[in-house]
């Protein structure tokens, strides 16, 4: 057992070193103090990839483009000329084929991160503080968690699971995935969802203190059997996967994607 485990450990170490080495080799750092740039080439750009990024502090902006390199530009928001930590923050990544995990070791700095990425990507994004999350022109499943700030999605083909507490959520879908649910929840913010005309979905909407406006006709609350559930609901084009929007203090708007 022991030699075998040692062998595995040895291999793991080698793999880790290789990954680290690869990261350093393929990464084009432009250390200008306030801005860092990372280029992540994709061997198989045709395959749909997956990007995971958890930003401890700062905004995230992801834009899809027709290329095969992920271009990450990170900028420290505040000029901290006297700060010791100014240059200590660092952007790194792990890559396994088209599965990419981006790390920002912010050292307490607020870092705004801009990402240009091939369009067919699944995104898992989280900003823990002090920034908005914007996603534009992506084909894929998008998961965003941004408790403090707002979430803005535009020109999306696919689906999204979005969560905020203090922010607004706007999600504009050019096309929706016919099987996947869409969900957006917040407490303090408004929710705006734009859907293509041909969407098939079961809408379930609830706001405790706000108004609901929808271009698709809605059924009044109380249609469900239990008083525990006070959804306003609607079957768009005969129904489909559930689209759940819930806020506490905000308004909900359902629009057509134009």
């Amino acid at each position: 057992m022991k030699p075998f485990r040692a062998l595995v450990d040895h291999r793991l170490v080698v793999i880790r070193v290789l990954i680290l080495f690869g990261s350093v080799l393929f990464t084009n750092f432009q250390l200008s103090g306030q801005t860092q740039k990372v280029l992540i080439p994709l061997d198989q750009p045709d395959l749909s990839g997956r990007l995971t990024f958890d930003n401890p502090k700062g905004s995230i902006s992801v834009t899809g483009y027709d290329g095969n390199i992920i271009v990450v530009t990170a900028t420290a928001r505040f000029n901290q000329e006297d700060s010791k930590t100014q240059n200590d923050w660092k952007l790194t990544y792990d890559q396994q084929e088209t599965n990419v995990i981006l790390y920002c070791n912010a050292q307490g700095n607020t870092i705004d991160v801009d990402i240009k990425i091939p369009r067919h990507f699944t995104l898992q994004l989280r900003s823990r503080d002090n920034g908005d999350v914007i996603v534009i022109r992506i084909n894929g499943a998008i998961e965003v968690d941004n408790a403090q700030g707002s979430i803005m999605l535009d020109n999306i083909s696919g689906s999204a699971i979005l969560n905020s507490v203090y922010g607004n959520i706007t999600a504009r879908f050019k096309e929706v995935n016919p099987d996947d649910p869409i969900m957006a929840t917040t407490i303090e913010g408004d929710i705006e969802l734009s859907l293509p005309e041909a969407t098939h979905a079961n809408l379930k909407l609830n706001t405790s203190r706000g108004n609901i406006i929808s271009v698709f006709p809605l059924l009044e609350a109380g249609q469900e059997s239990s008083p525990l559930f006070d959804w306003k609901s609607s079957k768009i084009n005969g129904g489909g996967p559930e689209y759940i929007l819930r806020t506490y203090n905000g308004d909900i708007q359902i629009k057509r994607y134009l």
Partner: protein, 227 residues
């Protein structure tokens, strides 16, 4: 007397005529003609009954096939009538097991959308068992995505008459401090259900310093309402 009988006279006349008629010579053509007639007669005799006999044979075969098919259909209809309830129960049980195991696999997927679909599959099942409740409760407490937790909570809220579910929901209040949306909805449900067992948990959460104002108000009102 001899010459007076007209009938005799007629006969004699006929005999005379017959005698005068030349006897045709037996030629080859005549012979051939005779055999041709004979052959023709034989073939016609053979043909007609043969045709009707084969037709009859085929009618019999067709009738046999028709009977067989009708019997089969009738039999299968009757047998399904008899066995249907047993077989369908067995099949639906299998389908249910399949759906359940599929949902339990899907709930471990990295995509939150897939996990939500899995929860909806579990929630739609009739007569859910303890395993399903346990899975939903575990999702409510431990899923990394708040929206997935919220969907699990809504699924569980349809089974509040079950003690395991209700106790699990009360217990879950303590696990939602990092999921404000879920905590808010859970508090709302406790208020709607008048669940007094939730009081200690809610009171302890009220003492936390960095609580969202809306949640704090909701919890405070719920505590007032329940006590």
């Amino acid at each position: 007397m001899e010459n007076t009988d007209p009938k005799r006279k007629e006969i004699e006349e006929a005999e005379r005529l017959l005698d005068q008629t030349p006897i045709p010579e037996l030629t080859e053509s005549l012979d051939r003609k005779f055999y041709d007639f004979l052959d023709a007669a034989i073939t016609t005799r053979d043909q007609f009954p043969q045709r009707s006999r084969t037709a009859l044979y085929w009618y019999a075969v067709a009738a046999g096939i028709a009977l067989f098919v009708m019997g089969w259909l009738g039999g299968s209809v009757l047998s399904t009538r008899n066995k249907s309830s047993v077989e369908i129960t067995g099949l639906s049980g299998e389908v249910r097991d399949l759906r359940e195991s599929l949902a339990l696999t899907m709930i471990q997927q990295p995509l939150p959308g897939k996990r939500i679909q899995a929860i909806n599959m579990l929630a739609d099942m009739k007569n859910p068992d303890d395993k399903i409740y346990a899975t939903l409760l575990s999702t409510l407490n431990h899923d990394p995505n708040d929206n997935v937790r919220l969907v699990a909570l809504e699924a569980l809220a349809k089974h509040v008459e079950n003690d395991q579910v209700m106790a699990g929901m009360v217990e879950a209040i303590g696990q939602q401090q990092t999921s404000p949306v879920v905590l808010l909805r859970l508090t709302e449900l406790m208020a709607l259900l008048g669940e007094k067992r939730a009081l200690p948990m809610l009171k302890s959460i009220l003492e936390k310093p960095d609580l969202n104002y809306n949640i704090k108000t909701q919890i405070y009102e719920t505590v007032q309402g329940l006590s």
